[in-house]
């Protein structure tokens, strides 16, 4: 009996000690702030190999994933024999080989090209846990290879981040390549440019409808800055607002039922809400100053816009329902072209300082203002990607004005359009 009590006492005495024996250590940041990824070339499957297909798919995918900033790419020169292994099942992949190269994720794929029929299969693997993360089989023609690569890049981002990428979307912009400022459309990597208008005039300020099927823009075609709407697939075009004076900076509401724009029909430029048929529904601002460049909050309840009502042009936010207006920016002498992020937390805008424009972003409550662009040239007209990860903007830092894209924190900037023409006013479409 005494022995039993002694054992219980001993157990109770040792239990807390054994619990405390585990020492606690804290790791407060990862050793590597990117995911090591091995991206192998597509391998031919049951068909004659086409270096163009494999090369183009790899090039597009690499560019998209590199822009995401998520990955550190393993040098292809270091790849071992599994890179030439056609097997796409996790049991067929030699994971230890990839792990030896320091990779955590692996992209492998095959293609078969029979005449005009192209089938691409691509897989994303988790090297550490030796499992398939995601994969797709794309079918189309050889001309669709870029779209397939963009779609797979979106899928990779969705698997790893939980949110689809924006690479399958398009970017609308204004270019004077033909001699006149016309509306153009291109892929997110700047490829496949396509002219949408032939107004032989000045086209400005394009913006996509929330579903991405229509584009709003202002054109001087009728010698007055009128607001137009164009259906992308059918090419149909309609003049929506053609009041005397300005009809500019039209932005469709998230519910697609209203358009916020700047009208100067009464002399002074003010922000109005109009229906998709062009009828005025509400006047948002009523002030002696110039109010312009509205941008919707994702919930459709507020509008950010530029106004010089307190002296210099600054960004203001107006509540659509109450009409209450508050000032957002306080620094700088000239703040313009605001764009509300799709997540609703930040607003990006351009500010003139030291004689040139740079991009800044700020929280909706006016805190945490950050400068995003540095260096030479003017950086203007920022717009968000549909996932809020990237920004597209125009800049003349390379000489002529061109369209650039970068991450939302200002890193990874790259030029999309060439410097032959003047390109500006980009707008990133919703996901197609």
């Amino acid at each position: 009996m005494l022995l039993r009590w002694f054992m219980v006492f001993l157990f109770c005495g040792l239990l807390p000690w054994s619990v405390m024996a585990a020492t606690e250590i804290e790791i407060s940041s990862p050793g590597e702030q990117s995911i090591p990824l091995a991206l192998t070339n597509l391998l031919p499957k049951e068909s004659s190999p086409s270096t163009r297909v494999a090369g183009e798919f790899n090039e597009v995918l690499l560019a998209d994933l590199d822009l995401s900033g998520l990955f550190r790419f393993i040098a292809p020169a270091a790849f071992l024999d599994d890179a030439g292994n056609i097997g796409l099942y996790s049991t067929q992949v030699d994971f230890p080989q990839w792990r030896m190269l320091g990779s955590e994720t692996l992209i492998k794929g095959t293609y078969s090209l029979n005449g005009d029929q192209l089938i691409v299969e691509a897989r994303l693997f988790d090297v550490v846990n030796r499992r398939l993360l995601t994969g797709r089989r794309y079918s189309g023609g050889p001309k669709d290879i870029r779209r397939m690569a963009h779609a797979f890049a979106d899928l990779v981002l969705k698997e790893l981040t939980g949110e689809e990428g924006p690479f399958s979307a398009r970017i609308a912009y204004i270019s004077n390549l033909t001699g006149d400022k016309e509306l153009w459309l291109m892929d997110v990597d700047g490829k496949r440019p396509l002219r949408l208008t032939n107004h032989r005039s000045i086209v400005l300020n394009p913006d996509f409808s929330p579903r991405g099927k229509e584009i709003l823009f202002t054109s001087y075609r009728a010698n007055n800055p009128d607001l137009y709407r164009k259906e992308i697939y059918t090419g149909k075009e309609a003049k929506i607002s053609y009041k005397s004076g300005l009809n500019i900076a039209g932005r469709m509401a998230p519910n697609s039922r209203e358009i916020a724009l700047t009208l100067s029909k009464d002399g002074n430029p003010e922000i109005y809400l109009i229906g998709v048929n062009g009828r005025i529904r509400k006047r948002i601002t009523d002030n002696w100053g110039i109010d312009s460049d509205p941008t919707w909050s994702p919930d459709g309840g507020r509008l950010a816009f530029v106004s010089n009502r307190q002296g210099n042009p600054h960004i203001f936010i107006a509540d659509i329902f109450t009409g209450k207006t508050s000032r957002l920016t306080t620094r700088g002498k000239y703040n313009a072209t605001p764009a509300w992020s799709p997540k609703g937390d930040r607003i990006v805008f351009s500010r003139q300082q030291g004689g040139r424009f740079d991009l800044y972003s700020i929280n909706v409550d006016g805190t945490d203002e950050r400068r995003l662009t540095f260096g030479p040239g003017n950086n203007e007209h920022p717009r968000w990607s549909p996932d809020g990860r990237f920004l597209v903007y125009s800049s003349d830092k390379g000489g002529n004005r061109a369209i650039y894209v970068m991450r939302a924190d200002g890193t990874g900037s790259r030029r999309l359009t060439n410097l032959e023409s003047d390109c500006r006013h980009p707008a990133w479409s919703p996901r197609w």
């Binding site: 020492t23 407060s28 940041s29 990862p30 590597e32 702030q33 995911i35 900033g69 846990n129 939980g162």
Partner: protein, 281 residues
């Protein structure tokens, strides 16, 4: 019973066939050994003996002594011949006193003062003034930027000096930790494990919602054997963010074999968070 057995054994030993039987037995055993040790059944399945790369300089210990974690051989001072000798003191040059030049005396004569000619009043050109003002503003701005840059340079130089001073610890200082209080030669085993796991933890900030980085935290219990092998692990508390949780699981799996042996079995509770990353934003 035992007597009988002994007796029987003795009888067996005395048997003349015993030697032959022993020989046969040895031969059979030998054949079996050759059959199994040879390459008849393939040798690839044989487990390889574990190989430990032990860094004796950075040996992980429990109670490290004070010292330097990364000993670097310092350059030996070169022979005196190679040294450039500098004279202790330069001879002072004694300057001769220079006599002041004698000024020639000039007789005072009446000087007719010229009448002041009224200068033409130049009206300030507003454009010019604006230009000057803008140029001045620019210069001031440039000066301010330069001052800011100089301040940053000073700060950087100070940091470099401090790092340089740390690196200049002489080579004969024992291997240990800067804050070590024990008496063992080596580095802190806990810190060693922590650094190894951290190096294996790869997580891109672009994977996460930037506004929630500071709140992400997960806890895992890890048990390492003395041989540096991860015997078991258990994730006690997840952050709720799939990307964050997956990344730390991968880090743990990648850290299943430490590159060094440990002084003893280690039970660790590892807290993963992104405080440093959030602070750097």
């Amino acid at each position: 019973m035992s007597i009988v057995t002994l007796h029987q054994n003795n009888a067996f030993h005395n048997d003349p066939k015993f030697g032959r039987l022993l020989l046969v037995s040895l031969l059979v055993h030998g054949l079996i050994w050759v059959a199994f040790s040879g390459s008849w059944f393939g040798t690839s399945s044989r487990p390889k003996p574990p190989v430990y790369y032990v860094d004796l300089v950075h040996k992980p210990v429990i109670n490290p002594q004070a010292g330097r974690p990364d000993p670097r051989p310092t350059k030996k001072p070169k022979a005196a011949v190679a040294k450039r000798t500098v004279p202790a003191a330069l001879p002072k040059v004694v300057k001769k006193p220079v006599k002041p030049a004698v000024k020639p005396l000039v007789k005072r004569t009446q000087v007719v003062k010229p009448k002041p000619v009224p200068k033409p009043v130049v009206k300030p050109d507003q454009r010019k003034q604006k230009k000057i003002q803008s140029a001045l503003d620019e210069i001031r701005e440039r000066q301010a930027r330069q001052a800011e840059r100089d301040a940053l340079k000073d700060k950087l130089a100070k940091l470099r000096d401090s790092v340089g001073a740390a690196a200049m610890i002489p080579a004969d200082v024992p291997v240990g930790m800067p804050d070590g209080t024990g008496d063992e030669v080596g580095i802190n085993a806990l810190l060693f494990v922590q650094t190894f796991i951290q190096q294996n933890w790869a997580l891109s900030p672009y994977l996460l919602d930037q506004s929630r980085i500071a709140n992400l935290e997960a806890r895992a219990t890890l048990r390492y054997s003395k041989a540096g092998k991860l015997v078991s692990y258990r994730v006690d508390q997840l952050s709720g963010n799939k990307q964050f949780d997956n990344s730390l699981k991968r880090a743990i799996i990648k850290s299943q074999q430490l590159p060094q042996v440990l002084p003893k079995d280690l039970d660790l509770v590892v807290v993963f968070n992104l405080k440093d990353m959030a602070a750097a934003r």
